[in-house]
């Protein structure tokens, strides 16, 4: 029993009741001290971005753009710089990639060089070649974004799951590690996944399900996240909680509940109590908040 409690504590799996029992152990104080003091041995800082740059400078450097191009696209570059000043932005020295990243619960609006607008949802990253935009109209998206594209403008959105091609339209791409979907609100978009291509008309969406794409209808004018809520249809609790963590900076403890249960419903992005109730009540669960830790349990 004692060993089990300590092992669970080591993996942050204690329920509130077990935590009480753990606190009553003789060795409680000494274990907590050991654990706290371990932090003094923390490894020296590791600057991931700098480290990657060092590797790239050894392997991946690309030819730089000519001076003539600088003049020609100066306006476009200036526009991008203006947008960038409030954002987390890094421009790699090798090929001038502009990269914008949002944190939990933050969204950003980005104007592309061709005046198209992108709304970047929370915990997402968008990068593109600002300098060579006219020659290379490609965006890399990791996360979720809503695109409002200028008429006549054409570009491509690359995600790990599929390539999305657009021509003057409004659409949303969601590319999370737990799911992929493209929704079209105006015009049409092309989606290419592996060898298969799809054309998506307005008011339709494609959802990746068991390796195949499924076509569904869209009933709103803008994606749900733009109205500060998430709507989920028959999703596992595991995915629902991952979606939740895009908007609230919390950790979930779910050792006593079945995270494979399906949930249908919605939750708001601006009120954590209502959001938690929206998820737990229909599933017959309760929650307990302890700072940034949320314990889920059966009622």
């Amino acid at each position: 029993m004692k060993e089990e409690l300590i092992k669970k504590w080591l993996n942050n799996e204690l329920t509130p009741e077990e935590l009480e029992a753990f606190k009553k152990l003789d060795e409680y104080a000494s274990l907590v001290k050991l654990s706290e003091k371990a932090k003094y041995f923390k490894s020296p800082g590791f600057d991931q971005e700098q480290h990657l740059e060092d590797i790239k400078s050894k392997t991946l450097s690309k030819p730089k753009a000519s001076k003539y191009q600088y003049l020609k696209y100066g306006g476009a570059i200036a526009a991008v710089f203006l947008v960038g000043f409030i954002l987390f932005k890094s421009i790699s020295s090798a090929n001038k990639i502009t990269s914008i990243e949002t944190l939990t619960a933050k969204t950003e609006t980005i104007n592309l060089p061709d005046q198209s607008k992108v709304n970047l949802n929370a915990k997402s990253q968008l990068s593109y070649d600002a300098e060579g935009w006219m020659n290379n109209k490609q965006l890399e998206l990791d996360g979720e974004a809503y695109f409002d594209v200028e008429k006549g403008s054409k570009f491509t959105v690359n995600t790990p799951y599929a390539v999305v091609e657009v021509l003057g339209t409004k659409f949303n791409v969601k590319s999370r590690d737990y799911g992929f979907e493209v929704a079209c609100y105006e015009g049409s978009v092309g989606v290419q996944r592996g060898k298969k291509s799809y054309t998506l008309q307005a008011n339709n969406k494609l959802i990746l399900k068991d390796e195949g794409m499924v076509l569904k209808q869209v009933h709103t004018d803008v994606p749900d996240w733009k109205t500060a809520k998430s709507v989920l249809k028959s999703q596992t609790l595991e995915k629902v909680l991952k979606e939740f963590q895009n908007y609230y900076d919390v950790e979930f403890y779910t050792s006593t509940v079945d995270i494979q249960r399906r949930y249908t419903g919605s939750f708001p992005h601006n009120d954590i109590e209502i959001a938690l109730k929206s998820i737990t009540l229909p599933l017959g669960l309760t929650y307990k908040i302890d700072d940034k830790n949320i314990f889920l349990s059966k009622k």
Partner: protein
């Protein structure tokens, strides 16, 4: 992560390579540091592993990159290691708000405790030390450590638990 990479057949695309670096470089660095200490320059080992990955990018599927990186970094470190004792540095920071804790007696005891801790850590096996510190210092879950080391979750749990037990016995001289 695995799902997201599934579309790419190798690691030769720069975006894939950058993503792999973002996902694994820090973990790999910590793994080498906690296991072998500072004298083997963990940053260089990580760099070598990623350069190897780039050289062989055509033959490696992105979902296999993680185990490739970890075994390359581990092996290149093993090749140079001379079974020296690993002594990890610690940094004693006394929190400012606990001014009543600043007295010399307390500081001396604190330093004594940390010196014992340092010795006890160096007495642990490499395998136990790396699992314990990744868990306690970096806050990694057992499952994540299991994936990093390529062993079962149960084995990780056991390593961390026995490391904790040994450290406690050693430091408190039970």
């Amino acid at each position: 992560m695995k799902d997201a990479f599934a579309l790419f057949k190798d690691c030769c695309k720069e975006t894939v390579f950058s993503k792999l670096h973002k996902a694994y470089a820090k973990d790999l660095h910590d793994f080498i540091y906690y296991k072998y200490g500072e004298q083997h320059n963990p940053k260089d080992k990580v760099q070598q592993a990623f350069l190897k990955l780039w050289e062989n990018c055509k033959d490696i599927k992105p979902e296999k990159a993680k185990s490739f990186l970890f075994s390359v970094a581990n092996n290149t470190t093993l090749n140079v290691i001379k079974h020296k004792k690993v002594v990890l540095k610690y940094e004693l920071k006394t929190p400012k708000n606990q001014s009543d804790n600043q007295d010399p007696q307390f500081l001396m005891e604190e330093r004594e405790y940390m010196d014992k801790y340092q010795k006890a850590l160096s007495k642990l096996t490499k395998e136990k030390r790396v699992a314990f510190l990744l868990n306690r210092v970096e806050g990694k879950k057992h499952k994540e450590i299991a994936e990093m080391l390529g062993i079962s979750r149960k084995a990780v749990e056991k390593r961390i638990y026995t490391a904790l037990k040994q450290l406690r016995e050693d430091i408190e001289e039970i």
